[in-house]
């Protein structure tokens, strides 16, 4: 049994999504190959990987939109294959290429979805107005969707999830094709969802964006999860260290004091008054205290956070080890 299988054998206490040996085959080809993962309540979880890695297929299996070939997945305790309506009542989905009825207005599109959700007239109107306010589309509520930009359509898709009051939001490549400003706004909306307790599953290959919002990520490669964990954890595992902190200060025995900080792996002396530390967390506050304790003068303190891009590049250079590594 692989390390990851050991880890996921018992579902996390508050896991809202739990996949066990989840497999999707087309003929003899496995596009998703016995993957295991848990997503905790309120977490923003990223599915990363190149196109065709199996991210969207995994999402479709979670929603009951495609048959599961083997294994199982539990969404909020429900089986999407047997209880699809229970799952779909609680899960909002924003597909990669989100489509709306162009001849209808934003409100009409949301009203149609709300009717399908089974909401009554009054409740429908109230929720739609609130959702459009939340995604900042209230001023174009009565305009036809045909006139909307891609960013506005994505926000309208998010409004639909808000109307549903989904406990889990599944967002498939939500920022692809958005301009930088629209991307920032969209990522802010994801943070707002998280703040309201919504669990977010985000599939993307925009690594910097994923890093900005995700608590944990799973790296997909040819249908398997190659790695899983927080960015810092993956950084330690893949790059050998997570945070790189540079200190410029004078004082006696600073290098020794910096090395004694918990979490610091290595201290490199670049010059008499310049030090570079690698640590598994952001240790700037501890470094500042160490300089002060040494009666030194702190002139500069900077940190390079671990880059998901670097992790991804390193991870996808090496062949898979067979089992899945879980850094958590």
């Amino acid at each position: 049994m692989s390390e990851q299988q050991n880890h996921t054998a018992a579902t996390r206490p508050e896991a809202v999504i739990a996949a066990r040996d989840l497999t999707k085959r087309y003929g003899k080809t496995s596009v998703v190959d016995a993957i295991n993962f848990d997503i905790a309540k309120g977490e923003v979880f990223g599915l990363l990987g190149p196109n065709g890695a199996g991210k969207t297929t995994t999402i479709l299996m979670m929603l009951g939109l495609t048959e599961i070939s083997a294994g199982r997945v539990s969404v909020l305790g429900f089986d999407p294959a047997r209880q699809p309506l229970q799952v779909k009542r609680r899960v909002g989905y924003l597909p990669d290429a989100v489509g709306f009825y162009d001849h209808l207005t934003a409100v009409e599109n949301l009203a149609y979805a709300a009717k399908l959700m089974g909401l009554g007239v009054a409740e429908r109107s109230r929720r739609i107005a609130a959702a459009l306010t939340c995604v900042r589309l209230l001023d174009v509520a009565d305009k036809r969707v045909a006139t909307f930009s891609r960013g506005m359509r994505q926000r309208l898709g998010l409004a639909e999830i808000i109307v549903k009051r989904a406990e889990i939001a599944i967002l498939d490549e939500p920022t692809s094709g958005l301009d930088p400003q629209a991307t920032i706004e969209f990522l802010d909306l994801i943070r707002e969802l998280k703040a309201e307790g919504v669990t977010v599953l985000l599939s993307s290959h925009m690594l910097d964006q994923v890093q900005r919002v995700c608590d944990r990520v799973a790296l997909f490669r040819v249908g398997k999860i190659a790695m899983m964990g927080s960015v810092a954890e993956l950084s330690v595992q893949v790059l050998g260290a997570g945070f790189v902190v540079e200190v410029e200060a004078d004082g006696a025995g600073i290098a020794r004091r910096l090395a004694a900080i918990p979490g610091v792996g290595n201290v490199e002396t670049l010059a008499d008054d310049r030090f570079r530390m690698t640590a598994d967390r952001d240790v700037r506050a501890d470094a500042a205290r160490a300089v002060v304790a040494a009666n030194g003068a702190l002139r500069r303190l900077s940190v390079d956070e671990p880059s998901l891009e670097a992790i991804y590049a390193r991870c996808f250079q090496v062949p898979p080890s067979g089992g899945v590594r879980d850094a958590a």
């Binding site: 939109l65 047997r82 309506l85 229970q86 597909p95 489509g99 149609y112 399908l116 959700m117 639909e160």
Partner: protein, 320 residues
């Protein structure tokens, strides 16, 4: 494995939205215009012909549907030709348009089954056609009253209502076919072309091919030819083969329902008409009995095509 919840949850919402889309679409407006103009032209010719013998015919209203005057065919024949066009026009992009608009996965991520989407769309299409045909039917009756000045009897109304119901079933066949093709083909243009090809084949080519195939199966007997009669075996095979076309089934059912003197839809043998009062009309119930197999054939055809589409749609991968 039993599914949770009702398969019909959401049918109403889909039905209302699709019906609204259909009725307000330019495409539907054009189709309705085509049918109304053509049908009215046929009706005008029929009224002109019927004015000559108003007092002689007890089923004057029904004649409005069946009388033709060159160069136009009868009202019923025109509908037999145009109803499939209307149904195909409404159904060729029912499902593939959802794929192309990328709305399908979003809609199916709502708490409904695929059944609801398919059924809602189909029923909305059928309701649209039913509304149009009912309007046309009322128009015919109204114009008949105005121009002929003879109020229709109860049996005439019953028979014309039976015509309306059978016409809706006939539309159902073509709508099912168009919907099936919209599931099979992702491109609406391909679905439309294939549907129109099948329609043209069954409407224009098949009536010519069926006798040729029947003659190959049962070669004509020269003795019957000498008497100017069809060989019974060949005639029976011809009719059997022609009934594979919904157009033929509709035509036969219309003949039985709108022509009260029609006693049979197959070849007539002398022993079958012994004792019959020639030209005497049959009661409405008897006419319905004659049209019943054709009507059931249309319904069965609709069900087979709908089920084929249903099975394909259930198995289809939804990515867009």
């Amino acid at each position: 494995m039993r599914r949770e919840g009702s398969a019909f949850q959401g049918v109403g919402a889909v039905f209302v939205k699709e019906l609204s889309d259909n009725i307000s679409s330019v495409r539907m407006l054009m189709l309705e215009l085509l049918i109304v103009v053509t049908a009215m032209a046929a009706l005008y010719e029929a009224i002109a012909a019927l004015r000559q013998n108003t007092a002689e015919d007890p089923f004057l209203l029904l004649r409005l549907f069946t009388v033709s005057q060159a160069p136009l065919p009868s009202f019923v024949a025109i509908l037999g030709f145009l109803i499939p066009l209307m149904a195909i026009g409404l159904g060729f992009d029912l499902i593939n348009s959802e794929h192309n608009r990328c709305t399908l996965s979003r809609i199916l991520a709502q708490p409904i089954y695929r059944d609801a989407l398919l059924l809602g769309k189909y029923l909305a299409g059928l309701a649209t056609i039913a509304i149009s045909l009912t309007a046309l039917w009322l128009l015919v009756i109204g114009l008949g009253l105005i121009f002929l000045g003879v109020p229709p009897g109860g049996e005439e109304i019953s028979r014309s209502l039976a015509f309306l119901v059978i016409a809706i079933f006939y539309a159902g066949v073509w709508l099912s076919l168009a919907m099936l093709l919209s599931i099979v083909f992702r491109s609406p243009a391909t679905a439309a072309l294939v549907a129109l090809g099948i329609w043209l084949f069954l409407t224009v080519l098949w009536p010519m091919l069926a006798p040729a195939i029947a003659q190959a199966i049962v070669p004509p007997d020269p003795r019957f030819a000498v008497l100017g009669l069809d060989t019974p075996g060949t005639a029976i095979w011809t009719q059997l083969l022609q009934r594979f076309s919904p157009n033929d089934l509709f035509g036969e059912a219309m003949l039985a329902v709108l022509s009260p003197t029609t006693r049979t839809l197959g070849p007539v043998f002398l022993d079958q008409i012994r004792g019959a009062v020639m030209g005497a009309p049959l009661p409405f119930g008897q006419s319905v009995m004659i049209a019943w197999p054709q009507t059931v054939g249309l319904i069965a055809c609709t069900i087979v095509l709908f089920v084929a589409g249903y099975v394909l749609f259930q198995r289809q991968e939804v990515r867009a």
